[in-house]
């Protein structure tokens, strides 16, 4: 039976709807239209021409950047999830209530500082004359090239998403039904096996959503690949800036942006489907 639309319901749902239409749907439609425009003498010309799509999809460098970005974001999601889980587990199960509150607070603190500033500060640690190489130098090692490498880019991605992933994992683990864990222990399930057979499956939704957030943030990030990765290898976000530098080619940049949005949507739907698979209301 359909519920009648009430003024009360509209009052709360309309602002969100208006917001989404104004700041997501409308710009997205504009981006789609823009991808068919052309550029002449640095000026955008409205029209309907598929040249931008054929040009971008016909370029090997686009597919190379696409593969690189996809691989880096996927690796960041896996790495962040694996590294965040022990911390989230300890916060959720091992700490007292007070300590847990402090730990959550500590995970929020990084967001007080600009991400760009945090990434720049990593340069001081990772450069050839930086802190890490100085420490390694004391024991006769190095210097190792750490800055301007994919590894440094990954460090940036972790900086961006690690605190958020830990927080999401903590919330997910906190809501696990403790009787399931006790039951597993009563049935002589070992600690490690309990983690893999009970805790992780129970917290699957939260863990997958946390990894998804990491993927989304890393996939579109421009700061780390440029300031820690030294712009190599080229990621899609870098390719967008390169494209706009090429005679105001915003329509071609729109093609790349739409490809990124499409990819993120596919990944998000797949992840959400997997996260909620088998769940009932």
């Amino acid at each position: 039976m359909r519920r009648p639309i009430s003024l009360y319901g509209l009052t709360f749902s309309l602002p969100l709807l208006i917001w989404q239409v104004l700041f997501f749907v409308f710009p997205l439609l504009f981006l789609v239209a823009l991808s068919f425009w052309t550029v002449k003498n640095f000026a955008l010309r409205p029209g309907f021409d598929t040249v931008n799509w054929t040009t971008i999809y016909g370029r090997a460098v686009f597919w190379q950047a696409y593969g690189t970005t996809l691989a880096l974001a996927a690796a960041a999601s896996v790495l962040t999830t694996v590294l965040a889980f022990p911390a989230a587990y300890a916060i959720a199960f091992k700490l007292s209530d007070t300590a847990r509150r402090w730990a959550v607070f500590l995970m929020v603190i990084p967001f007080f500082t600009s991400y760009l500033v945090r990434v720049y500060s990593w340069q001081i640690f990772l450069s050839d004359n930086g802190i890490f190489n100085a420490i390694l130098g004391w024991i006769g090692l190095g210097p190792f090239a750490m800055l301007n490498t994919p590894g440094a880019t990954m460090m940036g991605y972790l900086t961006l998403s690690y605190p958020l992933v830990v927080l999401l994992q903590v919330f997910s683990l906190t809501f696990i039904d403790r009787t399931l864990i006790e039951a597993a222990h009563n049935l002589r399930c070992g600690r490690l096996r309990t983690v893999f057979e009970v805790i992780i499956p129970s917290a699957r939704t939260g863990l997958v959503i946390a990894a998804l957030f990491c993927f989304i943030l890393s996939f579109g990030d421009f700061v780390s690949p440029v300031y820690l990765g030294g712009g190599k290898p080229t990621t899609l976000s870098i390719l967008i800036t390169d494209t706009t530098k090429s005679g105001q080619q915003w329509p071609r940049a729109a093609v790349i942006a739409l490809s990124m949005i499409g990819t993120l949507m596919i990944v998000a739907f797949t992840a959400v489907t997997f996260a909620y698979r088998g769940k009932t209301k």
Binding site: N41, A65, N129
Partner: protein, 374 residues
């Protein structure tokens, strides 16, 4: 007593109220006494509307500059094309983009009689792109050279005096690129011996691509404005392609061990020109600013800009700079000594940075993306 006491309390309240009103009103009265400064919008590279350059002009003309800084000519054109006419009163543009500004109708025509063009070196009096069909649309205000930038602890000036140094095995992973195809590929073209680095046929272009690709294993990164500064400053990159004194001059001033040199294969010249934005409601003030910054006094100031130093085209500006700051004049080669900055141009050692002539702009940019991704 009581009355007296109450009086004193009332008086105190009144005094307080009166003082408060007076304190609040004083700025308003002061503002009425001297008119509020006129805002003048400037679209420029960072540094051009900073106090070290504009403070004197602002004070003398009761003007307040409102800068909008961009990074790169495409960014500049984008900002203009997305803004209504009259948004920007003064526009600073790299010389390559001046023609596009004019062709798109973004700038007003200038009256040559308004400016001290006769004080300019002859080479700059009819600067390409500034004039069209005998009409003046912009005026060059400063320029600089691009060559090999290097860390003085890692390389000597003699070693850095050829672009071939970028292939030196000891620089593997230590060569940086300023992330813009035009200066980098122009330098590769010079290295290939092209007398006009941007006017090359298909065979020449293929050779430039091949030469550039061979440098890829040496490259440690591709950097924007900020990244270029930091990677040279902290020694992460030991040699840099596509830049010159506009970066190393600033770093040296702050104690970094870096320098730049015009190599034996020749260097490139970047140039910045001022125009008045189309539809500016304050065109007279904008004209006054261009008169100021292209005058001898303004030019000497511009040469020493804190954000990035530059050479200046006004001969009298050189004289003022030599009197004001002889060390900086000498450092930048703006003296009467042989081998000075003008001699570099006159002997053909430096060529204008410009858009490719026989290839599309996009062709060069597309190759640059491929090179970065290689």
């Amino acid at each position: 007593m009581t009355r007296t006491h109450r009086m004193s309390v009332d008086l105190t309240r009144r005094t307080l109220l009166g003082a408060g009103v007076a304190a609040l009103a004083t700025p308003m009265l002061a503002r009425r006494a001297s008119a509020a400064p006129t805002e003048l919008t400037m679209l420029a590279w960072y540094g051009h509307a900073e106090p070290d350059i504009v403070a004197e002009f602002e004070a003398a003309n009761n003007v307040k500059f409102v800068p909008k800084y961009y990074t790169g000519g495409d960014n500049m054109l984008g900002l203009i094309s997305q803004s209504p006419p009259g948004t920007f009163d003064v526009i600073l543009s790299d010389a390559e983009y001046v023609t596009a500004l004019n062709e798109n109708g973004y700038v007003e025509e200038l009256d040559p009689a308004d400016y001290d063009i006769a004080d300019y070196f002859p080479e700059f009096q009819n600067f390409p792109g500034n004039w069209k069909d005998g009409k003046l649309f912009s005026l060059i205000a400063r320029f600089g050279f691009l060559g090999v930038a290097y860390n003085t602890d890692a390389l000597t000036a003699a070693e850095a005096s050829t672009y071939k140094v970028f292939w030196d095995p000891k620089l593997k992973g230590k060569v940086g690129h300023f992330d813009w195809h035009l200066p980098n590929l122009g330098q590769m073209s010079l290295l290939n011996g092209n007398p006009e680095p941007y006017d090359i046929d298909e065979a020449g272009w293929e050779a430039v691509k091949e030469r550039t690709m061979s440098l890829r294993p040496q490259v440690g990164g591709f950097f924007d404005y900020g990244g270029t500064f930091s990677s040279l400053n902290d020694g992460q990159m030991l040699a840099f392609c596509g830049i010159g004194d506009w970066i190393t001059g600033v770093l040296r001033k702050n104690g970094a061990k870096v320098d730049s040199v015009i190599p034996e294969e020749g260097g490139l010249q970047w140039s910045e020109c001022f125009s008045i934005g189309k539809g500016s409601a304050k065109a007279d003030l904008a004209k006054k600013w261009i008169q100021y910054i292209t005058s001898a006094k303004g030019q000497a100031k511009s040469a020493q800009m804190a954000a990035y130093p530059a050479l200046i085209p006004n001969q009298k500006g050189w004289d003022v700079l030599q009197a004001e700051n002889p060390d900086e004049a000498k450092r930048q080669g703006m003296t009467k000594d042989p081998g000075n900055a003008m001699d570099m141009i006159r002997t053909g050692r430096v060529k204008f940075r410009q858009w490719p002539i026989q290839q599309d702009f996009e062709t060069w940019n597309d190759f640059w993306s491929e090179y970065k991704g290689a």
